[in-house]
């Protein structure tokens, strides 16, 4: 099933439930709560996403040491390439194809 069909079918089930409950003979305040429920759910979902985002950014690990160790590895690679004649004053000729 396509992703969009799946999401729409969840929405359709929720909407059908909501309309079904609205048909019931409810007291004023209960009816108001039912009417407000989808909006409350949307707000809660938004807050949940925001909380996920805040948690994600807060726990996104910063690794400055990795940049430093990469610089060392680059220095090693450059000396290796110089030793092998890939870079430097007298670079190797290219392979002819």
């Amino acid at each position: 099933m396509l992703r969009i069909s799946r999401l729409l079918s969840y929405a359709a089930v929720a909407a059908a439930l909501w309309i079904g409950v609205l048909q019931l003979d409810l007291s004023g305040s209960a009816r108001l709560a039912v009417i407000a429920a989808p909006f409350a759910a949307l707000v809660l979902f938004g807050l949940y996403m925001l909380a996920l985002l805040a948690h994600g950014v807060a726990t996104y690990r910063d690794c400055p040491d990795e940049a430093e160790s990469l610089q060392q590895d680059i220095a090693w690679a450059l000396s290796e390439l110089t030793a092998r004649g890939v870079i430097g004053p007298n670079p190797l000729p290219e392979v002819s194809e």
Binding site: L2, Y60, R61, D65, I87, E94, V95
Partner: protein, 243 residues
């Protein structure tokens, strides 16, 4: 060759465009990583006709190392990541394929972790993740982290891919699986990596993850602007209606 144990060959696909400064460095690191562990490998460089002389450096690397281990395939111009993989795969002889960026943001030292993880339960795909406990980034400010996290959380909520780093591009694939995936994959940019994972899940591939640290050395050049965010959202919408 270990006796009785099945040995694999790993093909590293490196799509390049103007990577003259980096290509030699990444190749030297890759060679060291594979040879120090006695692993069978090849490096397939797919260059999109870089004007900066990337191909000349690759040819010198072939002389210095081995033109069997280092394979150069060229294309007439920038044609996108997906087709670079398709093209590179045609020339890849390994049974497993590593895809990574050639700009040194993906360190070859993680490849043994990918290989070990793959072997644990013979997974089809191992995806590098910046979001694991030991993973992370270097060189990103708050804004960059926010957009990266936001994009990932939004995509994960809508697509439910069971992969924590959807837009990451450091991955190990079983070659047959990658070949099948790229054939059907139509997205570009960030959406491409997402689509690969979504399609992989849909075809029932086994996917595992290893933590990686992404090092951004050129921060400033690669700022995420409104155009990229818009492209990402369009890609996400496209995946919602096509997968």
């Amino acid at each position: 060759m270990a006796k009785g144990k099945r040995t694999h060959k790993y093909s590293v696909l490196l799509p390049t465009y103007n990577e003259r400064e980096n290509i030699g460095i990444i190749v030297a690191m890759l060679v060291k990583t594979f040879e120090s562990r006695n692993l069978d490998y090849e490096i397939v460089i797919i260059d999109d006709n870089s004007p900066d002389g990337t191909q000349e450096v690759v040819k010198r690397l072939q002389t210095a190392y081995s033109s069997e281990k280092i394979v150069l395939r060229t294309r007439p111009g920038k044609l996108g990541l997906g087709t670079a993989y398709v093209y590179g795969l045609k020339h890849a002889t390994g049974d497993f394929v590593v895809v990574m960026d050639a700009d040194l943001s993906h360190h070859p030292k993680y490849i043994p972790d990918f290989i070990a993880k793959q072997a644990e339960r013979d997974a089809d795909i191992v995806s590098g993740t910046r979001y694991a406990r030991e993973g992370g980034v270097s060189g990103w400010d708050f804004h960059r982290k926010l957009t990266s996290c936001g994009a990932n959380i939004l995509a994960a909520t809508l697509l439910q891919p069971n992969v924590s780093d959807l837009t990451g591009s450091f991955r190990l694939y079983r070659k047959s699986v990658l070949t099948e995936l790229v054939r059907d994959c139509g997205s570009r940019g960030y959406a491409f990596q997402m689509e690969m994972m979504v399609r992989a899940r849909n075809m029932g591939a086994t996917i595992d993850e290893v933590p990686i640290v992404f090092v951004d050395r050129l921060y400033g050049d690669s700022k995420l602007g409104g155009a990229e965010i818009w492209m990402f959202l369009k890609g996400l919408l496209w995946l919602l209606v096509t997968t």
